[in-house]
Symmetry: C2
Subunit: 209 residues, 2 copies
DNA sequence: GTCTATATGGCGATAGAC
DNA sequence: GTCTATCGCCATATAGAC
């Protein structure tokens, strides 16, 4: 009957539950029992769908990692570098604020040499050539200062991702636990990054309006 | 005899071993047996010096966290903001490159609500007033654009820390595993950050040299 | 203080009925 | 495909001799 549908539903529920728990607790901290509970099924059924905790984790990690990288990819068809920055920065911050544990989870797991995790990162077939051409063009036209694509991308991602990953430190260390001040800080963060990058990239002899 | 000295030596060896293993494997991934092995002692002795894994972990985390925050603190007596940036950026990157797992370890652990971890962060009694005064002074003199101290500090730390924490991603995703290119990238990173921040902070009508 | 031996519990994984 | 029951292991922690 609706057997096939049930399979999909169960598998989907497992994947959703596993993603939540893995991101929240990390691979080592996650418990198969807790994943089963949140998925509303039995622990044995987990091993029926995914043979082991390792396999389940890799499944989740691959999906999440590729999703995050695609988040950069989708804005690469743009007229100039500033257009790219203005689109990617608010989008990235918005996504990460809805998933606050995602950055530290990813950064943590990629630094433990799990088998095959490096392979997952390299498997993402991003086409940077488009953005690279735009960058070189912008530089040649004198619209922005000379900069390598790699430094630029790392700059942007750093400024977006670190504040989310380090939220407890920033909240405690810079704002003494004052959540209102921190919220205000984060509300201005995207605009601030765009402004900083615009100021940094714009040549001094090319003042805009 | 040298009993007292032996105690200190043993405790020190435990602390060093525990710090290495916790940073490398995370709290959940670390094993008391492995810590004991690396310290050259017995597993039971760990529990004699530190009652539990939790207590040992908190001991380590506190030390490491305060050390990192102090790393910012020590450069705060400076004439102007650019002096601060030019000293803190190379120093921070240099320290973190020698301890590549440190950033992702810290970022990961602060996002799991271990009991008392927030307390540790707030306990660091940094005096930001000095730097704040310098910043406000620099802004009033028109040496740099208007910017809040919090956004500035987060900008600097982001640009320094993220590239270390995300090294496997940057290496795989931006450099396709080419370690030579990545090394070159990191060699230029400190100078790049200083340049970017100088360009961003310097008012457009105040061209230097 | 330091060790060996053991208690105690929890976890991933499997067997087997339905 | 889903469940209950259980195996086998390993981790933290303790007991007790030296």
């Amino acid at each position: 009957m609706d057997n096939k549908e049930n399979i999909k539903i169960t598998e989907q529920q497992i994947l959703e539950a596993a993603q939540e728990i893995f991101i929240e607790k990390g691979k080592d901290g996650a418990r198969m029992q807790e994943i089963a509970d949140r998925a509303g099924i039995n622990k044995a059924l987990l091993h029926y769908y995914f043979r082991s905790k390792d396999k389940l984790f890799m499944n989740i990690f691959k999906k999440v990692m590729h999703g995050l990288l695609k988040q950069v990819d989708q804005f690469m068809d743009c007229e100039d570098i500033f257009g790219f920055i203005e689109k990617v920065v608010p989008s990235y911050i918005s996504v990460l604020e809805k998933n606050p544990y995602l950055p530290s989870f990813i950064l943590n797991e990629v630094n433990r040499n799990h088998e095959g995790i490096l392979n997952i990162i390299q498997t993402s077939d991003l086409d940077k050539s488009k953005l690279k051409k735009i960058l070189e063009n912008n530089i040649a036209m004198g619209k922005i200062i000379p900069i390598t694509l790699e430094q630029l991308i790392v700059d942007i991602l750093s400024l977006c991702i670190f504040p989310i990953a380090a939220k407890p430190i920033i909240l405690g260390y810079l704002f003494q636990g004052n959540t209102n001040s921190h919220e205000e800080f984060m509300k201005q963060r995207a605009d601030h990054i765009i402004q900083i990058m615009r100021l940094a990239l714009t040549p001094k002899n090319n003042i805009q309006s």
